[in-house]
């Protein structure tokens, strides 16, 4: 139930709804999309990436001197959790062909394909397998399947949405593998939304020129991740899963090749040495760094661990100056602040309107443009709705979804959204949702090629931890696609690589060297990374924890 002070604005939304509905049903564009110049203007003036302190130069490592997101620079300019001198690297706990770090969709897909290609696999994951952003994606997965669409049209949408900074070979892999991924997932038993004739239900995503977004209600990520996890568990002889054991450093051999990792058992506090011929980083993104203090849609474990590991081993990062804020995070009620409201709500016809009930932007601009225009509406133009806790947002007029698609459309196709708000007595079939941009996605990451190889031998990266495919802005439905396409490719190539690799003696010299570089640069901060978990302990509790020891954020 919305509080009394919002009622006046809600009335205005209701009042303007019939006219907006009429225009929407007429088939003409409900609002004129922005030109290149207009996009540029709203981005540079309102996107959080362009704030003066959003970026700073990183002082160590392969990207030294480059301007990147300040919080990421802090993370990378941190000490290791371990002292290399404490480790006897001849005492190997696990020896495997392929080590997959991360138990999300990318990691699961990589493990399955590595196994198919003859490798023995270990998945090491910080929480449970499947506890990942993959499980949470709601809206869908893109693939050019319809007759009026093609991989080339998909390519153009992706590269334009990414502001033409995307790595072309990666975009090609993404769009060409997309239909194959849909087929693979269906063969595994993922239930996509279908029309009675068997064709896929497809929707138009933001920044897309064709209906290409395949979905499984608004549980698309869950539908896929549940199946991938189940399939991983169907191969216990070939794929071993070690849960609650994040990797804290990569291992290398004396030839400078990656050779496995050191895991930390979160429960027994033991360190575990895994030697692997190929290592895949599939650790996901950085939402839990709460960049610029934003609330996030991300999973509890999204702390960019893989970036730290790869960077210390010498891998290059790409586009770490760019952060994706999802336009529609929940701004009310307070308990679900920052929660993802899937773009599918807009693809099904919901419109963003201001406190006067006026539509102020084309509802399906690329995400960074859409989010920036929401921020402009709330700040410069002062047309947002302020809550009693002082937050501000604009309305996402969801009742339009029912009026356009028929009664029951929300409960049938957006059950998660309906359920989420219903828990707080807000019926989104009748009332709009209050939204504000929320920290959503790491656009950049470790640089890879279309085989998921990094510049360090035996090290592969897939999914959100990698960078390049989305340029500086990812389109909706392309992250689910990304982790499937590149998870599979990483697994396949890692397995083939493992057949020919002969590792030499294991070392942690790269960790020593990195620490030396920090010292030489005069960075004496007490930060420790990877941080593994965010720390939400209130300061007053901390003040009483007189004998507690925190290693970074971790107690």
């Amino acid at each position: 139930m919305y509080p009394e002070y919002m009622k006046e604005s809600l009335k205005l939304v209701e009042k303007t709804r019939p006219a907006r509905l009429k225009k929407s049903l007429s088939g003409e564009k409900v609002f004129t999309p922005m030109t290149d110049a207009e996009r540029e203007e709203v981005l540079t003036r309102f996107h959080p990436d362009y704030k003066p302190d959003a970026r700073r130069k990183i002082r160590v490592g392969p990207n030294k001197g480059e301007s990147i997101t300040s919080e990421v620079a802090d993370l990378l300019e941190s000490h290791s959790r371990i002292n290399p001198d404490d480790f006897d690297l001849s005492r190997i706990d696990y020896d495997t062909d392929v080590l997959v770090i991360g138990g999300g969709g990318g990691g699961a897909g990589a493990a399955l394909l590595a196994r198919e290609n003859g490798a023995k696999v270990v998945i090491a994951t910080k929480l449970r397998i499947g506890d990942a952003n993959s499980m949470m994606s709601q809206g869908g997965i893109q693939a050019s399947v319809n007759p009026n669409d093609s991989p080339a049209v998909h390519y153009l949408d992706v590269i334009g949405g990414g502001h033409f900074d995307n790595k072309p070979d990666l975009v090609k892999a993404l769009v060409m593998d997309a239909p194959l991924v849909i087929k693979w997932l269906e063969e595994l038993g993922v239930m996509f939304d279908k029309n009675p004739d068997g064709t896929m239900v497809t929707k138009l995503g933001g920044g897309c020129s064709r209906k290409r977004m395949h979905s499984a209600r608004d549980y698309t990520g869950a539908a896929i991740m549940r199946v991938l996890r189940d399939e991983v568990k169907n191969h216990p002889d070939d794929i071993q899963v070690i849960e609650f054991s994040p990797a804290v450093e990569l291992l290398m051999d004396e030839e400078g090749r990656v050779a496995g990792a050191i895991l930390y058992n979160l429960e027994t506090e033991e360190y575990i040495i895994i030697r692997a011929k190929s290592t895949i980083i599939a650790t996901g993104g950085f939402g839990r760094l709460h960049i610029k203090e934003f609330a996030t849609t991300n999973h509890y474990g999204a702390t960019a661990d893989g970036l730290v590991l790869g960077y210390r081993a010498g891998a290059n990062l790409l586009y770490m100056d760019s952060v994706q804020y999802h336009p529609t995070g929940a701004a009310y009620p307070e308990q679900i602040l920052g929660f993802l409201i899937t773009e599918k709500v807009r693809t099904m016809g919901a419109q963003p309107v201001n406190k006067f009930g006026e539509l102020f932007v084309f509802p399906l601009e690329p995400r960074d443009v859409e989010a920036s225009s929401f921020i402009r509406e709330c700040t410069e133009r002062g047309n947002g709705i302020t809550t009693h806790t002082g937050r501000v947002g604009i309305w996402l007029d969801s009742p339009l979804v029912e009026l356009i698609n028929g009664e029951g459309a929300i409960q049938k196709q957006l059950p998660a959204m309906y359920r989420q708000f219903n828990r707080f007595d807000i019926d989104i079939t009748k009332e709009p949702m209050l939204v504000f941009p929320t920290l959503h996605y790491q656009n950049g990451g470790v640089e890879i090629n279309d085989r998921c190889e990094t510049k360090i031998p035996n090290l592969y990266v897939a999914g959100e931890a990698s960078g390049g495919v989305h340029g500086r802005n990812r389109l909706m439905g392309n992250s689910v696609l990304d982790y499937n396409v590149f998870g599979r490719r990483a697994g396949m190539n890692a397995a083939v690589n493992a057949k020919k690799v002969k590792l030499s003696k294991l070392t942690l010299n790269h960790v020593r060297r990195y620490e030396e570089e920090l010292q030489e640069t005069g960075i004496h901060a007490d930060r420790v990374a990877p941080i593994l978990l965010p720390d939400y302990t209130p300061p007053e509790v901390k003040a009483r924890q007189l004998t507690a020891h925190y290693e970074g954020t971790l107690r």
Binding site: E186, Y219, K233, Q335, P415
Partner: protein, 242 residues
């Protein structure tokens, strides 16, 4: 850094109000926490750093299955810690892990029929229709109905009714017949998706075209196009109507 207190500069006029404090009992111990927090938020406020029992924090992953009771009631209730708001005098505990059986199977060799369930999850057929699973479900799914659908051999209905399952395990934890409902539902959906759902003609056609290299030339041209003409092409592209 309390998550729900992160406030961006865009929201700078924010002045969170002081909330009323209420007592809750975490694993039997009393703590005072602000009203309006979720169970998860309350545990963190009390000083717990969660490892198990915390996942997506948005109601999608099922990691935070919680059992609780309120002071004036004998009934055990269930919910997700990230989705349930605390009540005064709530006694609560999370289920860190539940050792439920997950069968190992080769999905390529299964038949989409009742006999598959009889073989893989025979305990399904011990359902006594007590409806405890349905009452336990934090997603408000008709859990017993989908188990009954499996028993009747109606895989399509079982798949449909179980679709929004997040596999938190509360149904299985409460089931007197020791059925693992969420794994049964998942098997139903996998069988439906793989064998029973009608195939998409368009998808098959597109796969064939890609295999025959139909799009290679066009993609290569785009890859080698300079930024400006590429930009021009992008902004000139026609956008399909919604």
């Amino acid at each position: 850094m309390k998550e729900n207190e992160n406030i961006s500069e865009e929201e700078k006029e924010a002045q969170p109000q002081k909330a009323k404090m209420i007592p809750v009992y975490i694993m039997g111990k009393r703590y005072e926490v602000p009203e309006g927090l979720t169970i998860m938020g309350a545990m963190e406020y009390a000083g717990y750093q969660l490892k198990r029992g915390c996942g997506c924090r948005e109601g999608f992953c099922g990691a935070c299955a919680t059992v609780y009771r309120t002071a004036d009631d004998y009934k055990i209730k269930t919910g997700l810690a990230c989705q349930t708001v605390v009540e005064p005098n709530m006694y609560l505990a999370q289920i860190p892990f539940f050792p439920a059986n997950k069968a190992i199977y080769d999905v390529d060799k299964l038949e989409p029929s009742i006999s598959t369930f009889q073989k893989i999850y025979p305990e399904t057929f011990r359902c006594v229709s007590c409806n405890t699973c349905t009452k336990a479900c934090p997603q408000d799914l008709e859990v017993m109905d989908y188990i009954q659908a499996v028993i009747r051999g109606d895989i399509a209905q079982a798949a449909d009714l179980s679709f929004d399952c997040i596999m938190c395990g509360l149904c299985a934890a409460r089931c007197p017949a020791e059925i693992v409902q969420y794994d049964v539902g998942l098997l139903a959906r996998r069988l439906y998706g793989k064998y029973l759902a009608k195939k998409s003609e368009y998808l098959e056609k597109r796969l064939k075209e890609i295999k025959e290299n139909k799009y290679d030339k066009e993609i290569e041209e785009l890859i080698h196009m300079d930024r400006e003409p590429l930009k021009e092409k992008y902004y000139a592209r026609d956008i399909e109507k919604r």
